[in-house]
Symmetry: C2
Subunit: 307 residues, 2 copies
């Protein structure tokens, strides 16, 4: 931290928050509980109402959020939403005073994070890209992993805020590095999920008792978070979203686009994207990522629901 | 357990052991340390010498092992070795007295396990298929996962012996079910390893600090045994075998052959097999499974060794 900077406290820092979906609402609530004065905007006002009831101020666009804030957090949907929210006509940067900071926690494009950082710097503001993993449960429990790119001193200065939302908070490098790290995370999950689903289908077709199989394979070299958490849901026929397939398809698209730009062939991730596109085509874009199993089951005409 | 059966003890049961490679030698040693009289055979006698020095008897072929034993364990290389060792001219079944038991702990074909079980039953003997996971470390520490198929009462009768070698010992069903369960295990590892290697290559090309990335992604939804154990080795350029690629290619071949027989398409496993064949073609058949990264690196002309 720059020793001339004052430590961030609820007394000296006004927070702005844009994006109050399942993740954002929980994360913002942690800052408010710590005493931070907060100004909100969200595309659908109804989703922000519980935070307004807690005392957050409501304004009509991102620029007005920025005008009332020292640090503005965003966690919205797709890269185009990020761009509009931060760089658009009524966007955050148009309202943010010099010295202000933008923290985009949406999972978005590394290249866009760099563009935002440059635009912020041109206005004597700072920007961090800080996507998260941990899902709704991690957001509620302030147990997220937060992967941060941007100016290192700004990362250190904002640590007291990140610490209210996450448990694993890691600086990853210059602008875009947080997003790149999140892509690493998603590549691991995407390809690993193919393995979980194919393994269960194999066991099912072989006539095994899958609960018993999981006891044999979960604790050793085949073990993973996905196996421990998603296989039991699949055995119950539970396809409820922890994370929407349509959002996962967005993330895989970003990773493959970046990989193409870097001249990197990722055959496993490419297969995962194709299988997830098939899963969505079969009506599961709003199901959880574990519903990939249903596309693989349909591919071989396996009646998984009889499981 | 059949209440008329006597519990297995070193006083009433003679053990035979065939296959004293890295895994087999450790597993056999645990039985000997518990006091079991043991008769050995191995294709390469030198590898059995430490156990002979501990007091095991040496004979010249599997039939002679069987003639001196009540229960014969085998853990050899490929399915053809299993077939030769158990069903061949000087094989175990030609020497085993009625009432004897065969336990094949090789990772092998489910169909062959069924053939062995039938041949054993025809001689009033029993057979269990009991492949393991946990590698050399698990074998040394008696911490293996042992996945057992065959007659359930025989599984229960032999539990005192399995408990000397493993920590997770699970009955999986009739003959072949232990092998099928091991295939589930290998499908998970194979496809998961693609994800680990692609994720590291992505992060490397993006210029990230991979140690720092692992801190962000290892503990959450992207976490796995492979990531925690293999990624650090890859960052050090360590391709030493915990498990040989040539053996993994054997296992994937068995799983894909069984899947084909069951009319099950496994695109992820098929891709893994192709990538591992490429890794072997590049001179890494005796490297550890993590060396898959090198084939993916070569595919995109990435100079990973500069990492």
């Amino acid at each position: 931290m720059n020793p001339t900077q004052t430590e961030i406290t609820p007394e000296n820092t006004r927070i702005g928050w844009i994006g109050t979906g399942v993740m954002g609402a929980s994360m913002c609530r942690h800052l408010m509980h710590a005493g931070y004065q907060t100004t909100l905007f969200n595309r659908t006002k109804a989703k922000a109402q519980p935070l307004i009831d807690l005392g957050a101020g409501w304004v009509d666009n991102p620029a007005q959020v920025a005008a009332a804030s020292d640090i503005v957090f965003t966690i919205v949907g797709f890269p185009n939403d990020v761009k509009q929210t931060l760089l658009g006509d009524d966007g955050v940067l148009s309202g943010l005073a010099a010295g202000g900071t933008i923290v985009d926690m949406t999972t978005s494009q590394p290249a866009l994070a760099q563009e935002i950082a440059a635009a912020a710097a041109a206005k004597n503001c700072s920007a961090l890209d800080a996507p998260v993993s941990g899902g709704d449960v991690g957001a509620r429990g302030a147990a997220l992993s937060i992967m941060v790119g941007g100016p290192k001193d700004e990362f250190h200065r904002l640590l007291p805020l990140f610490s209210l939302m996450g448990r694993t908070i890691q600086y990853q490098g210059l602008a875009g590095s947080g997003q790149h790290t999140k892509m690493v995370n998603q590549i691991l999950i995407a390809t690993g999920m193919i393995g979980v689903c194919e393994a269960l289908l194999y066991g099912f077709k072989a006539g095994l008792n899958l609960e018993s199989v999981l006891k044999s394979v979960s604790a050793g070299a085949a073990g993973s978070w996905s196996l421990s958490n998603m296989a039991p849901r699949l055995l119950k026929g539970d396809y409820q979203p922890g994370f929407f397939i349509e959002h996962f398809i967005k993330d895989m698209g970003i990773a493959l686009e970046e990989a193409k730009r870097m001249n990197l062939s990722l055959p496993g991730l490419s297969l995962a994207e194709q299988l997830y596109l098939a899963t969505a085509a079969q009506g599961h874009s709003k199901s959880g990522t574990q519903a990939l199993l249903l596309a693989l089951a349909k591919l071989s005409n396996v009646d998984w629901k009889e499981n």
